[in-house]
């Protein structure tokens, strides 16, 4: 159904032509515009002004709908933040399990509503703390987890039936999730009551974050194992967070972030369907994770386009019937790379803009970065300011009181459409390559990102892009005043001692047997989760379990792409 009457459009066209010819030209003669051309961060050219002419092709019912209605452009829920604010979930975790436990209790007391865990690098790539390559990196950028014993300490005194926990872990997801389940069991909380998320997105590791372990096919198989297990046994859990954040941070544009993330999602849906599981059984559990960057309106358009694209793909391409299967639920993190080391207080303002964009874009949960992001892990003061940013937006700005308030803006609707169009071009291309797994093996997304990253840097150096405090408004003599967080080297000693003790006091015969059963199950191409869970409960280490899987599936070799 057409939104504007024909005569109105004709009238408007004439008026605009006159306006351009007369008023605009006159103004430009007196004050030329700042640039020849204006573009979004992704490079989409933007006009001076947008009018109904730019959105006349849109059909309100087909393209926008109402909140909570297909295609969900205006939000997946009918009341959105009027019902409940987004979850304020700040990423945390460092040092030892005890320190993480303390930081969690601090954040819960300060008003956070969900826990989020960061792991150290050895854990992220499935190495135990006593592995030779791990020794220098224990507990530095996240918490070290080697065995169930560590998990038990992390969640000591934290009731798992009352909180939800997001774990930023990928290749070792089966192990970490099993540990969480085991902790719940010990607390008397059965699996089906647990709520939370695991990132579990293997494809973006090859594209961007590079904490891969296994080659693409087995990696996707393990992702599907976890999703399948959760669908059947841990129904409140989000078994995957299909991520665009890392892809964006690695240098992708907003369009690429949107396209590659959705393409990854398509690959995972196909992997699940191949197992004979009905789309409506697992699709409601899929969730997404995006970045929020500085180009305010582009980000908002991106989020809205994402919802519409996913809804259409799930319904038309995969035949989903349940509305919940078509919902694109997402978590947002404000962009790390957009923050500067120079004049770090400026980052508070950047984060505010980015957070506002995420809220206006309808995010389900949000992490705001701390101002010292470019220096180190956040200090308590910095983390509190980041949390307050969300709370002020929620309670004092009024934006949460109306659902999708920017809908109908000619610019925002036009840009939403444009984002979808550009992203679909990429998705079609990836489809023609045989899907995302093939595209990753060929290095396509990696190459696109490397190009974008290089191009961006050149633009900054040529001052085509201004970054306040970095290439303009620079303070030559600035001195850092922020209290930094330092990780205590005692951490290494404590972690190694605990790991040693666990290995000595557990039933080693039993561990050996369970690891052998895991290996056989993996070789038989079974779902590995039940076997990993058993091994974890017997205090097998992360490294041991990952070692068995590496033997069966092999290890990934990175592509040489610049």
């Amino acid at each position: 159904m057409v939104m504007f009457k024909g005569e109105f459009i004709d009238e408007l066209k004439k008026k605009i032509e006159k306006w351009e010819r007369e008023c605009v030209q006159e103004e430009i003669k007196r004050h030329p515009e700042r640039q020849e051309e204006f573009r979004t961060l992704s490079g989409i050219p933007v006009k001076r002004v947008y009018t109904p002419l730019d959105v006349q092709h849109l059909d309100y019912f087909r393209d926008l709908g109402l909140p909570g209605e297909y295609p969900f452009t205006r939000g997946i829920h009918t009341t959105m933040y009027r019902g409940r604010f987004w979850t304020m979930r700040q990423f945390a975790g460092y040092g030892t399990a005890e320190q993480t436990n303390q930081r969690f209790k601090y954040l819960l007391k300060e008003g956070e509503t969900g826990l989020s865990m960061a792991f150290d690098f050895p854990t992220i790539i499935g190495l135990d703390s006593d592995h030779p390559m791990a020794v220098n990196e224990i507990g530095i950028c996240g918490v070290a987890v080697d065995t169930l014993a560590d998990m038990e300490i992390i969640f000591d005194g934290i009731p798992l039936d009352k909180v939800t926990t997001s774990m930023t872990i990928n290749a070792p997801t089966p192990v970490l999730l099993s540990m969480y389940i085991a902790v719940g069991e010990k607390q008397g909380v059965p699996m089906h009551k647990l709520g939370g998320t695991v990132q579990n997105d293997a494809l973006k590791e090859f594209i961007a974050q590079k904490s891969y372990v296994f080659p693409p096919e087995p990696a996707v198989k393990l992702v599907a194992d976890v999703i399948e297990f959760c669908v059947k046994n841990v129904p409140k859990w989000n078994p995957i967070s299909i991520s665009g954040y890392h892809i964006r941070e690695a240098g992708a544009t907003a369009v690429q972030e949107l396209a590659f993330t959705i393409a990854d999602g398509i690959a995972y849906v196909e992997a699940m369907l191949e197992r004979g599981i009905d789309v409506d059984e697992f699709a409601p559990r899929l969730s997404f994770f995006f970045a929020s960057h500085n180009d305010f309106f582009e980000e908002i358009a991106k989020f809205r386009a994402a919802r519409r694209m996913w809804a259409r793909i799930m319904k038309e391409r995969f035949g989903a019937k349940k509305p919940r299967s078509m919902w694109l639920r997402f978590h947002t993190q404000t962009s790390g790379v957009a923050l500067t080391a120079q004049q770090p207080e400026n980052n508070i303002i950047r984060v505010t803009i980015q957070a506002l964009a995420a809220v206006l874009g309808g995010t389900q949960s949000l992490h705001t970065n701390s101002m010292d992001e470019a220096w180190a892990l956040p200090s308590e003061k910095a983390v509190r300011i980041a949390l307050r940013t969300q709370q002020i937006i929620a309670h004092e700005s009024g934006v949460a009181n109306v659902v999708d308030p920017l809908a109908g803006s000619y610019y925002v609707e036009w840009l939403t459409d444009k984002m979808e169009e550009e992203a679909m071009k990429y998705i079609d291309r990836i489809d023609s390559m045989g899907g995302m797994i093939e595209a990753v093996k060929k290095g396509f997304p990696q190459r696109e990102i490397a190009e974008s990253a290089y191009r961006f840097q050149k633009e900054v150096e040529e001052k085509k892009r201004i970054i306040v405090g970095v290439n303009e408004y620079v303070d030559e003599k600035e001195k850092l005043e922020i209290p930094l967080l330092r990780v205590d080297p005692e951490v290494v000693r404590v972690q190694l001692a605990r790991l040693k003790k666990v290995k000595e006091t557990r039933d080693n015969e039993r561990v050996k047997r369970l690891l052998s059963e895991l290996r056989k199950a993996a070789e038989r191409n079974e779902n590995v989760m039940p076997y990993v869970l058993n091994a974890v409960k017997a205090y097998a280490t992360l490294g041991e379990i990952m070692g068995v899987l590496k033997e069966v599936y092999g290890e990934y070799q990175e592509l040489i792409i610049f």
Partner: protein, 136 residues
């Protein structure tokens, strides 16, 4: 371009487990565009691997990119090994996420300069050209 022109050889390395390589790759490209020969080690390198590579490739510069916070142990170790193996005329520079407080100690340990986030590529290129110690 003469085939016998003396090129500056740079090794760009990623010590440790951290996989964020956007900066390392952008710098590698920029150095290539500035006429240098750049060897990239790939991810997850130990200090021993980095130094062995520097020796075999006989590089003039070693650039270390690290964002995981493990710089105080890994970077000085690279310098130490280079010296032990007789490569003391190699220029060692670093980049990534390194707090300013740590920079003096790193310089004492032999890192010539640390290029943090926001450093223009031009700055790095000029620093290398100015400070590289050509071997006879």
């Amino acid at each position: 371009m003469s085939s016998t022109e003396r090129k500056i050889k740079v090794l760009i390395a990623k010590p440790g487990l951290n996989g964020h390589d956007r900066g390392a790759k952008v710098v590698a490209r920029a150095l290539r565009d500035a006429g240098m020969e750049v060897i990239y080690t790939g991810l997850r390198q130990t200090p021993e691997q980095i130094v062995e590579t520097a020796i075999q490739e006989d590089v003039d510069v070693v650039g270390l990119s690290i964002l995981s916070g493990a710089h105080m142990t890994l970077l000085p170790r690279v310098v130490q090994l280079l010296r032990e193996k007789g490569m003391d005329d190699v220029l060692v520079i670093a980049g990534g996420i390194i707090p300013t407080d740590d920079i003096p100690k790193l310089k004492e340990a032999g890192i010539a300069e640390v290029f943090g986030p926001g450093t223009p590529l031009k700055t790095i290129i000029e620093f290398i050209k100015k400070n590289v110690r050509r071997k006879g």
